[in-house]
Amino acid sequence: MGRLRFLIALWAAKATRSGLRLLRRRGTQLPGRVALKLCPDFLARVGRPARVLAVTGTNGKTTVCNLIIDLLKLDSWRVLANDYGSNTVVGLCACLAAGAGLDGRSRHDIAVFEVDERSSRLIYPHLAPDLLVVTNLFRDTIMRNAHAEFIAGFLDSAIPAQTELILNADDLISSGLAPANRRRHFALGRLDSDQVEPENLIVDITCCPRCQTELVFDYRRYHHIGRAHCPACDFASPTADYLGQSVDLVGQTMTVVEDGQAWDYPLVSDSIVNAYNQMAALAALRWLGLDHAKIARLMAQVSIVSTRFGRFEAGGVTVMTQLMKDENALACSRVFDHVKRYPGRKVVVAATNYFAYSKDWSENTYWMWCADFEFLADPSITQLVLWSPRIEDVVLRLLWAGCDMSKVVVARSEAEAAERAILDPDQPVFVLYSMDGLPFAERTCRRLLARAEAQARSGLDRAAGPRAGTPAGSADPAGVEAEAVRP
């Protein structure tokens, strides 16, 4: 009876998926809901590939998953993945249903699943991964994830005893997960930019989890990422089994050391964060038995495409868009840090805060006092154009951060933000946008590029600075209609 119920659920899920595809919808959730409704233990019954690999963590899980999938496919593996779907239990059910034959058996060599941390308890008891890669654990949004220790506890209670782990040795929170499980660690060796003193407001682990003595950081990379030890007991960052050394972000190379042997690797991106992601993927492929020479060859054929970062040019001016993940103080801090460290002078146009909240709720702005707005006070940022439903809070926060307010422009409309930004071929413009601010970023980017092109065509002098008194929405060179003064 159970088997028949499962098959009916499977066929219903497949039919739902086919129907959704006819309607040109992806069908990443509904087939899973149908399967679970008809067969609550669907996840335990559906055929699984010989090996199941899961990737979780606060940041980088999508990138690591995609890297692993791309590399395995290049190596001719038949990979089942939820790379276009939901990373919750219904998403995995939908994915497994799609990947199974009509008899319920898997048709793939391996499954690579991105798993939301909070969905772990619903997934792992029924679908224990053979290998779990944890990229890192940081605080995320307070409303859902509370704090990093809470999520670590959540994972600890969900990770099956037989699951082997790939963990980040430079992250003192996730590196200690499920201590009884077999594990391998990856890390990046010391970098010139590492520091001993904290530069960030958020440090999610400061005390020894065993004896509560304040940890001594040998060096910090960002937030709690780095290496530390407890001066009172033997708690310390674990030793890495896979250590990325001589990381050259410009030349895009690194050396990976395992068991005393070194291997040259290409870097697939020019950021440290993605170097970590690459190390996580590399460690997973080593666990699957691929040798370093082959992994390095495969790595040379892939790159990381970020959907959260865009780069455009017109009239000699570079415009870069970047998602801030508003409400997530840590994600915002990483973006502010990136902007600050970007070489040379630059202009920032920032649409902070949730625009949707300003209509129905009021955004919990505690995160603004955890995020490193101090980085925006950096002298290399010559102009800061703000457009926000919480502009009073943003200005207060920048005053508190010690920002030179003479370089701050408070735009009264979205169009005005684009109109008043300095366009200078020697200064890239960063357009930072919140979670619901993508349309703003796109429109602002178009306006800036159109202005830059017009400026180059007319041979006008470069804009010398904020033009006080420019009426809101007075110019719209991109042909986009001016926005209302406030959302």
Partner: protein, 239 residues
């Protein structure tokens, strides 16, 4: 004028430390002194003007309660002497009588307030809060795993009167707890930054004459904007 910040490495989870930093930058006579978890508090030998304790993880709550419990008598002495204490977020629970977990287990709090907190890690409460502190409005946010209840027969004084939102527990007309100048509230993190009048009154209670805050125009503008939103009848208070 000494302000003691208790255990900042554990107890400033949600930017709670900004409260004291803001007060200190507003009043040059304030000397903010952090006390790490392993050190003995300054209040054992000195009379600070204010003791501050902020939000922490659930595991830290038990540790902090155990650390502070032996000094309850000294804290009572300071309370009777008019010393101010400000606890934000779940630090409120640590100062209560007990924290109970879902399975009935738990730990004893410091016992300064006659309350029991009941924790449910599977249900996070997120909401906005509008209330009054004496005659002035107060705004804030909540994000917590627990609510607190007065012990049977106890009638603790609330810190704030509820206008909209959830008090000490759903249905209770007060938010937070107050005994003398010891004040505890579930409102999160940067309470002073969001409520300039509360900040000024706190400074006055600490003994600052004619208190003012830095960036006063801007902090007032931010407060007025938020208050106007919170007072709109159609605004939803539960996330």
């Amino acid at each position: 004028m000494i302000v003691e910040v208790l255990f900042p490495e554990l107890c400033s989870l949600f930017a709670d430390a900004v409260n004291v930093q803001y007060l200190a930058r507003s009043c040059p006579q304030i000397e903010a002194r952090p006390t790490s978890f392993k050190a003995d508090p300054i209040f054992l030998t000195t009379r600070p003007a204010l003791i501050s304790l902020g939000s922490m993880t659930e595991s830290s709550q038990a540790l902090v309660a155990a650390r502070l419990r032996p000094w309850r008598d000294r804290l009572e002495e300071l309370l009777a002497d008019g010393v101010c204490l400000l606890a934000t977020g779940n630090a409120l629970e640590v100062l209560g009588t007990r924290v109970e977990h879902e399975d009935g287990s738990g730990f004893d709090g410091v016992g300064l307030f006659p309350t029991v907190a009941r924790r449910d890690l599977m249900r996070r409460h997120n909401s906005m809060f509008l209330g009054r502190f004496q005659d002035s409005p107060v705004v804030g946010f909540k994000s917590q795993f627990s609510h607190s209840w007065p012990l049977p027969g106890a009638q603790p004084d609330p810190l704030f009167e509820v206008t909209r939102g959830v008090g000490l527990h759903p249905g209770w007309p007060g938010e937070g707890l107050r005994r003398g100048n010891f004040m505890a509230t579930y409102l999160l993190g940067p309470l002073v930054v969001m409520n300039p009048e509360f900040g000024r009154r706190l400074l006055a209670l600490m003994g600052v004459e004619d208190p003012h805050l830095v960036f006063e125009d801007q902090i007032e503008a931010a407060f007025r904007a938020r208050l106007a939103e919170f007072e709109q009848p159609g605004r939803s208070f539960d996330y």
